[in-house]
């Protein structure tokens, strides 16, 4: 029997001018603020957002969400224009159902070191 709520892992990349490090806390605050502005708390609790891995030097990371709210997460990332007065562009590379597969895609598409789990 297929589960109704399944997880999805979104591999993303932050494009910006210069190599300014964006911290994990400021990134999640910005994503939550945009998500709540667009969709409110009625969808916020169902999103299941979690930052699994993130490399602040390169701007690459993996976000976890539910299968029901995957497109909402991608639109939320599309509407983010700046974080702490830095112009940014979120580029979602791939989505997958397991962490193992997304880490494989990270090694294939984003040639950067994978940070350890926190």
């Amino acid at each position: 029997m297929v589960k109704f709520l399944r997880q999805r892992y979104v591999l993303f990349e932050i494009l910006q001018d210069g190599n300014i490090e964006i911290s994990r806390d400021s990134l999640m605050k910005r994503i939550w603020r945009e998500f709540l502005h667009l969709y409110g708390t009625s969808l916020g609790y169902r999103a299941g957002l979690w930052l699994i891995r993130y490399n602040p030097k390169t701007g690459h990371g993996i976000l976890r969400c539910d299968n029901v709210t995957r497109d909402e997460l991608i639109t939320c990332l599309a509407f983010i224009r700046h974080i702490e007065n830095i112009n940014v562009l979120f580029h979602t590379r791939k989505t997958s159902g397991t962490v193992k597969n997304t880490l494989k895609l990270w090694r294939k598409f984003l040639i950067s070191p994978i940070p350890p789990r926190e």
Partner: protein
């Protein structure tokens, strides 16, 4: 194949080369360049670093797009001219000068009257609405006239992305109404986020993000969203390739093969 519309021409080849690399990173496989005059197009077409004439092979298909790449750019670029005039008389004068050139023709709309007259004109390929005000000009009458003459409608999402939080809901509402009216007519339409490189390159959004925006906010199914970003653009680009070789006769008629070609003429 996802196609980006459009980069504004600023006369610098290095800026356009860097813009094409940026677009390839974001996920596009081809792009359009917008000109405002004939001189700018002539400078672009004579530059082999930016533009390559497509190789003629029958049957004409989308695979020819990959042969149009310049020497230094990362993705193939296609020319487009945008007309911005105040009166219908000025539009007619400019169209007479441009109608022989092998490029796509677009026009921005200011009034209801000019929109209705331009929608009837078969010389124009694309009708553009950049702002919220121009989106309100596309009424049901204009959409049906555009469908009869074979024009496509272009809508910009950059105003929705750059607007403040208080204006976004108004812009979303107008676009939602427009898309619902276009659905009934099954009118071909396209989505674009134009930019000037390098001034505002962070207004661009990738194709996956635009499809997600159309699905979640405007309730447009994913299949139609992909058509707005790929299929309708491909038809326009094939039209431009046919104009290069004078192969376009009228809509519904297609040349399958030519025998005894004089290679010197091509």
């Amino acid at each position: 194949m996802f196609i980006f519309g459009w980069i504004f021409w600023n006369g610098k080849t290095e800026d356009i080369v860097l813009a094409s690399e940026f677009l390839k990173k974001v996920g596009y496989q081809a792009a359009l360049i917008a000109f405002t005059s004939q001189k700018e197009y002539e400078i672009f077409s004579k530059n082999p670093d930016l533009y390559g004439k497509p190789e003629l092979k029958f049957p004409i298909s989308i695979k020819m797009i990959s042969t149009c790449k310049g020497n230094r750019v990362a993705i193939p670029l296609f020319p487009l001219i945008i007309l911005k005039e105040n009166t219908i008389h000025q539009f007619a004068q400019n169209l007479n000068h441009i109608s022989d050139l092998p490029l796509l023709r677009a026009a921005t709309v200011n009034d209801q009257e000019t929109a209705e007259n331009l929608a009837k004109d078969t010389r124009i390929d694309i009708l553009i609405a950049e702002n919220d005000k121009e989106n309100q000009i596309f009424t049901k009458g204009v959409v049906s006239l555009a469908r009869q003459s074979g024009n496509t409608l272009a809508h910009s999402l950059s105003s929705a992305i750059t607007a403040s939080k208080y204006q976004q809901s108004k812009i979303f509402r107008n676009l939602f109404r427009l898309f619902n009216s276009i659905k009934l007519f099954r009118q071909p339409n396209i989505i674009f986020t134009e930019f000037h490189y390098p001034e505002n390159k962070y207004i661009i959004r990738g194709p996956r993000e635009l499809i997600a925006i159309l699905k979640t906010i405007f309730k447009i199914p994913e299949k139609w969203g992909k058509e707005m970003l790929s299929n309708h653009w491909e038809k326009l680009i094939l039209l431009q390739i046919k104009r290069v070789y004078d192969l376009f006769i009228e809509p519904g008629v297609e040349i399958v093969d030519i025998k005894n070609i004089d290679k010197e003429k091509i």
